[in-house]
């Protein structure tokens, strides 16, 4: 008699959770697939890997379905082999499932909308992720981000002081731009019309979006505020499938808005954040939200249509296309508003095909940007998106999602497209007409160059990039030292004792991570500030996972002069010195 296979402890827990998590809608999706294959070509992974049937949505779904059929569906117990009902036993089986549910699907829901039977693959794929997460089986990046969101309260581990300091820094930038020395981004004001919550990526890598939104609120005379804590509107629970995390994260934000007695929660442009906070999290948290919630896209559109701000679209003349985030379009029905808004603020809008609910994923969805082990797969599947983008002939792709910004930036670089990614808020802020209160400056001595007296070490293996950065810094008064690999960077840091090191992450010689850690651990270099300038977001973890103080700045390539200077001045704490 053959011995019954033993299930590992983790497998037992997974199966127990499967029983608890199963609901009627998911059970329907799990029994209804007829293996017709109509969904196959709707998946970007399949289109980019036409010879590999393991990417077919139904094939991936069957990896989850077989468990359901074997353990929860009595018809699958009658003749399991006949209907592909299979049990799982070992932790290796769970690892294999991980590879499918995290590494071969971005939960984009495109197949769900193309299934004649209404099988919602993305929903049960998310559930399967959650089952694995509950027993600690997940990509490392998912574990790190989830931990940050549980413990620090936001996905990127941004500390409260850094967040508040960034708001203050952006306030200073805007004082000059708006000509209002009293301007400040309001924090924790009570009884406001709008409480504005953002994505931590904005604090860490893209503070200009905060300033742009603040500028728009200011110009409308809006009564608004940002919270001092619980300000993260993103929710990694959507990606990890962990409803408990999803519910807890959203509840913090909901309770903060209630505490501030805000009338409406407006969320900055983030597809998964909007979907989580606006749509899914009231269910995860079992919380009946007593206030309105809105995407900032809708808010900006309303401001323009009500005449609260005026815009001049001739300030955005480059051809612009729009990428629909899967979460906004396929899961929240938001596809017309961004188009209406774009047509008001750009002169040359070009539609991308297919679009709206049929658009292809940016390939960075479902938390894919945090799972560096799957980067090659992700970039290969991105060919479909790259072809879509290229066909538009646009120079700018606008999107309403920070995740998509990262995903698109990465694929644009990989496929060498001549394009930049931006968010709608940046285009609106650029087009908005500011009736500036002009303060006539008193005549005085000429201002010194902003980087005068500073030494900057530029470490990058691309000669063009080194030359560009060196010229930029030298033109602004800095003394510049150049290194083309990791070993040289370390050596020059020791000999020249610069004030700032701009560090590329992909260099020959000693890895950037090692160089960074050695610098951090060397007492003589304790004052050296580091600003990472990299085109490889998947390498972020090689820096941030080290148990040393994180870098003072981080910029994603491609960079503009303005972004580099603003960031460098901030890192060198010169941002406030010259009133700029």
């Amino acid at each position: 008699m053959s011995k019954r296979k033993e299930q590992s402890h983790r497998v037992k827990v997974v199966l127990q959770r499967l029983r608890e998590k199963m609901n009627r809608q998911m059970a329907g999706s799990l029994v209804a697939c007829v293996h017709c294959g109509m969904c196959t070509d709707s998946c970007h992974y399949v289109l980019a890997n036409p010879d590999d049937p393991t990417y077919a949505p139904a094939y991936k779904a069957d990896k989850i379905r077989k468990l359901f059929k074997r353990h929860l569906d009595w018809t699958g117990r009658v003749f399991p082999w006949w209907v592909k009902a299979e049990g799982i036993y070992s932790d290796e089986d769970l690892e294999e499932l991980k590879d499918t549910v995290f590494g071969k699907c971005t939960n984009c829901r495109r197949c769900s909308l193309n299934c004649p039977m209404g099988v919602d693959m993305a929903t049960f794929n998310r559930m399967a992720r959650g089952l694995l997460v509950s027993v600690g089986i997940m990509p490392e990046g998912v574990a790190v981000v989830s931990k940050d969101q549980w413990e620090i309260g936001n996905q990127m581990g941004v500390l409260k002081e850094d967040y508040l300091e960034t708001l203050e820094w952006m306030s200073e930038e805007l004082r000059d731009e708006l000509g209002d020395p009293q301007f400040t981004i309001p924090v924790d004001r009570t009884d406001c019309e709008i409480v504005y919550a953002i994505n931590p990526r904005e604090v860490k890598y893209d503070p200009r979006t905060i300033a742009d939104a603040a500028k728009i609120f200011y110009l409308t005379g809006e009564n608004w505020t940002m919270p001092s804590d619980c300000w993260d509107m993103t929710n990694f629970g959507l990606f990890s499938g962990d409803d408990e995390l999803g519910g807890a994260v959203a509840r913090r934000l909901y309770e903060k808005v209630i505490e501030l007695r805000g009338k409406k929660l407006v969320m900055s442009e983030c597809g998964h954040g909007y979907r989580s906070t606006r749509c899914e999290a009231p269910n995860w948290a079992q919380f009946d939200v007593p206030f309105e919630m809105e995407s900032s896209v809708i808010t900006m559109l309303r401001y323009i249509s009500e005449g609260r701000i005026r815009v001049d679209k001739t300030r955005n003349t480059e051809p612009v296309t729009f990428h629909d985030s899967c979460n906004n379009a396929r899961s929240c029905g938001m596809f017309e508003e961004p188009r209406e808004l774009l047509k008001l603020v750009v002169t040359d809008f070009r539609e991308m095909y297919p679009n709206r609910a049929e658009n292809f994923c940016c390939t960075g969805g479902g938390g894919a940007m945090s799972m560096s082990e799957y980067t090659p797969r992700r970039l290969k599947s991105a060919r479909i998106k790259a072809e879509q983008l290229r066909a538009t002939g646009a120079k700018i792709v606008a999107t309403s999602c920070h995740n998509c910004v990262d995903g698109l930036t990465d694929l644009i670089r990989h496929y060498e497209l001549d394009m930049e990614v931006t968010q709608l808020v940046n285009l609106v802020a650029n087009a908005v007409i500011v009736e500036k209160k002009v303060a006539v400056p008193a005549a005085g001595p000429p201002k010194p160059a902003p980087l005068a007296g500073k030494t900057i070490l530029v470490a990058d293996d691309e000669p063009d990039q080194v030359a560009w950065l060196s010229t930029l810094f030298a033109d602004h008064g800095a003394k510049v030292v150049e290194a083309c690999d990791g070993d040289q960077a370390l050596e020059l840091a020791r000999t020249h004792k610069p004030d700032l090191l701009t560090l590329d992450l992909a260099m020959p010689g000693k890895s950037a991570g090692e160089v960074f850690e050695l610098i951090r651990r060397e007492p003589q270099l304790a004052d050296l500030k580091v600003c990472v300038i990299s085109g490889r977001p998947e390498l972020r973890k090689t820096i941030y996972d080290r148990s040393v103080k994180p870098p003072e700045g981080y910029l994603d390539k491609p960079v503009t002069e303005e972004r580099v200077l603003r960031s460098v001045r901030k890192v060198l704490e010169l941002a406030h010195d010259d009133g700029k």
């Binding site: 009627r24 329907g28 209804a32 109509m38 969904c39 049937p53 209907v83 209404g118 919380f287 929240c332």
Partner: protein
């Protein structure tokens, strides 16, 4: 008519039907025992979308090949689907006409109509089987049940073509048709063929979810090319 054929057309069918209904009832109760998730979010999407219109859209989806990219791009497969399912419906109707309304088959055009539809469906069934075997993506997702169900349906449709004239002087095709019909009635609840039971169910929930989120009814702008 032999006793065996009479039994196959009547008593056997009735027993098989009763069994099928019993298993289906159990199946529906089983499905309904899974909890229905409560929706707490306020609706999103365009103001003119509603859950009821979305559910209707979702149910009608099957008759709207323009509503999904998959059916637009694979229109030939969609046509095959239509023909195949019409053929199955015609064969089911035939299994009721022969025992309970054989007079209808005295009209030559009725026989020809049923034969035409079932024959076309039988050919489509063979094509679908060939696709399932030849296409690596289809092979990868197919279970033994998928091949068996489709293969047997092709055989059943073939016998439906032969049984349609209801010629009791040649009992073989009639007997084969009714024995297969009875087998299907018993087998279907355990196989993929029961998907028609799930269709209203899954599409209701998808319509409800996506309607609440303003995604359904699908709004699509025509392609530029």
């Amino acid at each position: 008519m032999s006793d065996l054929l009479h039994f196959a057309e009547h008593r056997l069918q009735e027993m098989a039907l009763a069994f099928m209904f019993l298993v289906y009832t159990v199946r529906i109760i089983w499905l309904l025992r899974f909890r229905a998730a409560r929706e707490r979010q306020a609706p999103t999407g365009a103001p003119d979308t509603s859950v009821s219109s979305a559910v209707l859209h979702s149910w009608a989806n099957i008759a709207m090949p323009w509503a999904m990219e998959s059916t637009r791009k694979k229109f030939f497969l969609y046509l095959q689907f239509v023909v195949f399912h019409l053929g199955v419906a015609a064969a089911i109707i035939l299994s009721f006409i022969i025992p309970y309304g054989p007079g209808l088959l005295e009209h030559r055009w009725v026989v020809r109509l049923i034969q035409g539809i079932t024959a076309a469906a039988c050919v489509v069934g063979v094509m679908r089987l060939a696709r399932r075997v030849a296409n690596p993506h289809m092979r990868a997702i197919s279970s033994p049940d998928d091949y068996f169900s489709l293969g047997l349906l092709v055989v059943w449709l073939f016998f439906a073509v032969l049984a349609a004239p209801n010629d009791t002087s040649r009992e073989g095709p009639l007997l084969a048709f009714f024995l297969l019909t009875a087998f299907f009635l018993v087998y279907v609840p355990f196989s993929k063929i029961s998907h028609y039971l799930y269709y209203p169910f899954t599409r209701y929930y998808l319509g409800k979810t996506l309607g609440h989120r303003g995604v359904y009814p699908v709004r699509r702008r025509p392609r530029a090319v």
